[in-house]
């Protein structure tokens, strides 16, 4: 079995008196495509936000590559190799698609240099071109990100996430609000991406991930309900009761 890349140890998160996530421990292995699933309100998004550094856990620890990363700042995540794509599309709407990716790629080259010329970073710009091509947006680089179709904006976001050259990519409902065609394009993109790096998906639609992922983690009422291969999860009586039973 491959090395663990990300380990959650007894993670809890409270909002006031409400416990959104309660004592969840699990391990994500290098190179494995894992999906976190669960019905609405299961704590998937909270779990995602903890693993990507948007919020800090109330209790517990997160280890990445053997290092304790609990409570480090949001911007550190991209630098140590954890990138994410958001559930609600988060792009720089008034900037061109190319500039969106270029800014994301620039992070590794220059952050606070205010006297050098941006145009001198030609490698960064080329990198952005490559990434746009990767997600199928090569022809749309000059368009404003806000003018792109919904599915294209999501692809753009993935290009931005990839720009930090992450070891681990987390995606929050990557196919949310997409048409069937856009969904199948996205699924094949995810499949390709997962051959190069570790990918973790948060997904609401269980059918979608069954054929795609090697491993599933099921959350329910903020607790870990089950984990295993798609076949194991399908056979799990508990999971069938709380999740599949709903249709």
């Amino acid at each position: 079995m491959s090395e663990p890349i990300l380990v959650a140890e007894n993670l809890s998160r409270r909002f006031g008196n409400f416990v959104a996530l309660n004592n969840v421990s699990c391990t994500f292995r290098q190179g494995q495509l894992t999906a976190i699933i669960g019905p609405n309100g299961a704590g998937k998004s909270t779990f995602f936000n903890l693993l990507t550094g948007a919020i800090a856990p109330s209790q517990g620890k997160i280890r990445f590559d053997g290092r304790d990363i609990t409570g480090i700042a949001q911007h550190e995540f991209a630098r140590i190799g954890i990138a994410k794509s958001f559930q609600i599309t988060n792009v720089f709407k008034q900037l061109s698609a190319h500039e969106n990716v270029r800014v994301a790629a620039q992070m590794r080259a220059s952050r606070f240099d205010f006297l050098r010329s941006r145009a001198s970073l030609t490698a960064v710009s080329k990198n952005a071109d490559t990434l746009l091509e990767r997600v199928g947006l090569a022809a749309l680089g000059k368009r404003l990100a806000g003018e792109l179709a919904h599915g294209q904006q999501r692809s753009l976001e993935i290009a931005m996430a990839l720009a930090s050259e992450p070891k681990l990519l987390l995606m929050d409902e990557p196919t949310a609000g997409m048409s069937p065609e856009e969904t199948s394009t996205m699924m094949s993109l995810i499949r390709t991406l997962s051959t190069e790096r570790t990918v973790i998906l948060v997904e609401h639609k269980m059918k979608l991930v069954m054929g795609l992922c090697e491993r599933l983690i099921v959350l329910h009422h903020g607790e870990l309900l089950a984990e295993g291969t798609p076949d194991e999860i399908r056979a799990n009586a508990e999971v069938r009761r709380v999740y599949l039973g709903q249709g």
């Binding site: 911007h75 992070m107 205010f114």
Partner: protein
Amino acid sequence: MTQANPISSAIALIAQHRVAAVLIFLLLFPLIMPYEALALNILIFGLYAVGFNLLFGYTGLLSFGHAAFFGVGSYLTGITIVHFGLPWWLAIVAGTAASGVVGLLIGFLAIRTRGIYFSMVTLALGQIVYYAFYKAERWTGGENGLRGVTVEEINVFGLTLDFVNPLTKYYVLYVFVALALWLVSRILASPFGAVIESIRENENRTAACGYDVARAKLLIFTLSAVICGLAGALRALHLSIVPIDSLHYLLSGQAVMMCLLGGMGTFFGPFVGAAVFLYLEDVATSFTTHWMAIVGVVFMVFVLFFPKGIWGTLVQRWQRWNNHSVVTK
């Protein structure tokens, strides 16, 4: 068939060399103004609005306390000349540097907040600076302002210039404005310039890309304060006195108006806004004491019908026309 339109290529050339274009314009500017003092005022407040625009138009942070930086620049230039007898150019450096320090302090406290709270915190801290200078009467002259910031002649490379002559004064201060505009253009074209625009567009995404948003905000806040402080320093030399309203929150509000009028988030827009604002004020005060009402109406017309401002609308029109002509070529 692909022959470029001469107008279009001329505009592209100007856009490419925006600093040079603005500087040539400002070189000729006193000739088209009714009198030199107005040209000087526009030169100084244009720079002030450009500095403010770094934060407002490019980073998306609305500060209501920028008079503090303008005023500190003015006062420290005045104080170092009146009380310490510093040469005029060193006084400008002192005033500008002091604004940078105050900008760093106020920025450090203000960037922890967002949206309307940011505006309110900058307003409150700006008022604290106002009262501190108001009370320090021994140094600042209090309510009467600081008098006697008189520089009659200056020596530049062995050349003695008559600083009382408004046109000479204009071109001496012009050199400082030119340097500042070059710096602003550099900042905007830099990798860091891309980061602040990303912050304006989406703060969370910028952080997720790996940028320390708080640090970037503090840096641009301080740079903005330095530019506004330089504008204040130049005004002290222009007026020979530092009035207490240099620190007044009305002046902070004027920066917002100038940016909106001219076009926030464009390089030259704030200058256009400052020029229109001050020209209107100048014309309107000649026949009514209620000039604010006239300026207010013009301002409202622009906010309602041209939300991109005068310069911003022109730039947008040109871009559309240019894109259109490219498509139909």
